[in-house]
Amino acid sequence: MGIRINAVGPACTIQDCGRHGYMDYGFQVSGAMDEKSLAIANSLVGNSQDMAGIEITIGGLSATFTSDAVIAITGADIKPELNKMPIPMYRAIYVKKDDVLECKFAKVGCRSYLAFNQGLALKKIMGSLSTNIKCKIGGYLGRPLKANDLLFFNSTTPNIKNIDKHSINLSISFKNPVNIRVILGPQDDYFTESGINTFFTSTYQLTKDSDRMGIKLDGPVVESKNGVDIISDGMPLGGVQIPSSGMPIIMMSDRQTTGGYAKIATVISTDVQKLAQLRPNDSIRFENICLEKAHKIYLNEKKYLMKVSKLWKQ
């Protein structure tokens, strides 16, 4: 048994850390937009950090449990309630059969993650449970969750004992404009000095066209030397492409594997998770950092997640 969805926002999908190994065939990676929050949710419920959970966009989820479970919710604060009683974010919670989980809409942040100790009993497609809506595969029937969907757990009882200490003092909070660190390139040489200057000194606002594929920005035009068309090449995670409009688009989890616009810079992986928590009208500024610094940040991030994974080992 598992969980029945009663009501849900528009973009709520099952995600793990992505469908890797097929990018050379033109296949999108997908996976949690904010992998860090999913990893922490998994650790809280005693799972390995790469297990699949539910990615909830802006909140609004309501669900009934059809068996006991241990759950945790991380990411954007959606003021979850269990049987109308508030429960904390970032804490493992024991829920009983017939309990009703209700989440409000997030006021700050964009994505929350719901993890289950028993995992979701779904079939991996090409090595992953991540939902790929374009190809209609993965997750639950290859589509976003909707009311009356019934998800099964791998076992009817949670496989974890003492969860009292399974909590962590974290929250998603930020001040606009959010500082987003990038490394210049691969095609920064397509842009004028003034274009690069504009890119690094301006504030850009997220538009409502932003989604799991890309974050579309609005702000001053980034000037190119002789146009932005390139011979299509590989699209890195966090690649900031500048289409002919001059408005940056940051490529996220559901991005195409290749693209034909010049990429002025690439957002470092740690800050891709930050971007995942921004919503339309939030704003960002780009900061140029060197690769050495970026690798230190990556190392610290991995060390932190490693530490979290060991906090409650039983």
């Binding site: 033109g26 190809c135 490394i183 691969p186 011979i231 957002v267 970026a294």
Partner: protein, 263 residues
């Protein structure tokens, strides 16, 4: 400002290898190995050789790659391999892959197509535009081995090179909302096959019963970058037979492997 420009200058590393090329930074977890800035079989061959060398040797720290017309995007894990070590490994692989004869084997996959009729509804338009009869179009379209420069846009969508110039036909003015899986079309100088149903603006000249992409198969993709495709014409009843075999995962495309140097 000076700082930014300074870093731009230091942003590129020239690869020390016979294959030429340069390294472009692409964030903290990937880099681009770029061999040039044009679409040519010679450049694409260099991409293919490095791509295959990485696939074969599986160097520690390189997780996956994305080959494209003239460059290879390489994803790596800086916890497992330093940037300098990565460059060293790539240089060595490029040098090694160049004197590896086996990597120049040419695999040609034969793809059945039912041309015209309800499956090739733009055949009359292509015929009008090119001044060729349907028979001549089929003859020209099936006469060549097309190089798969890269896969992208859709899962398993092959960017093919080398279509006969007499077949060049502009794309539709208004793209279709949904083009069925397996459709074979012409878009400007390119030809190709739609691996899944998708919106698109190509002129449809036929349809293939085979599935370039099928997540239920052990090998979800039929072909990869650097290989070749050759189309052949089948009748409607042959199309139905193959379609039936494909639905039971019983159909295997004929393929030819030419050994030795491709040029």
């Amino acid at each position: 400002m000076g700082g930014i420009i300074n870093r731009i200058i230091h942003n590129r590393y020239n690869l020390k290898s016979a294959a030429g090329g340069r390294i472009l930074k692409a964030g903290d977890l990937s880099i681009v190995v770029e061999f040039g800035n044009e679409i040519s079989e010679a450049l694409n061959d260099k991409v293919g050789k490095l791509y295959n060398a990485i696939k074969k040797n599986r160097p520690i720290g390189i997780s996956e790659t994305v080959p494209s017309f003239r460059s290879l995007l390489v994803y790596y894990d800086p916890l497992l391999i330093t940037f300098n070590k990565l460059i060293e490994v790539l240089n060595r692989l490029i040098e090694h892959s160049n004197d590896n004869i086996i990597s120049t084997n040419k695999r040609v996959l034969n793809i059945p197509v039912f041309y015209g009729g309800a499956f090739g509804e733009d055949m009359p338009f292509v015929s009008n535009h090119t001044g060729l009869s349907q028979e001549e179009i089929v003859e020209l379209h099936t006469s060549r081995e097309y190089l798969i420069y890269m896969l992208g846009f859709l899962p398993g969508f092959a960017y093919l090179g080398g279509m006969d110039e007499r077949l060049i036909t502009p794309r539709l003015k208004n793209p279709r909302v949904s083009i069925p899986q397996g459709s074979v079309g012409i878009g400007g100088e390119q030809t190709g096959i739609y691996p899944i149903s998708s919106p698109g603006g190509w002129q449809l000249i036929g349809r293939s019963p085979i599935k370039p992409y099928d997540p239920a198969r052990l090998e979800p993709f039929l072909f990869k970058a650097g290989e070749y495709i050759k189309f052949y014409s089948v009748s409607e009843s042959e199309y139905r037979d193959i379609e039936n075999d494909v639905s039971y995962n019983m159909f295997v495309c004929k393929e030819e492997v030419h050994c030795g140097h491709s040029n």
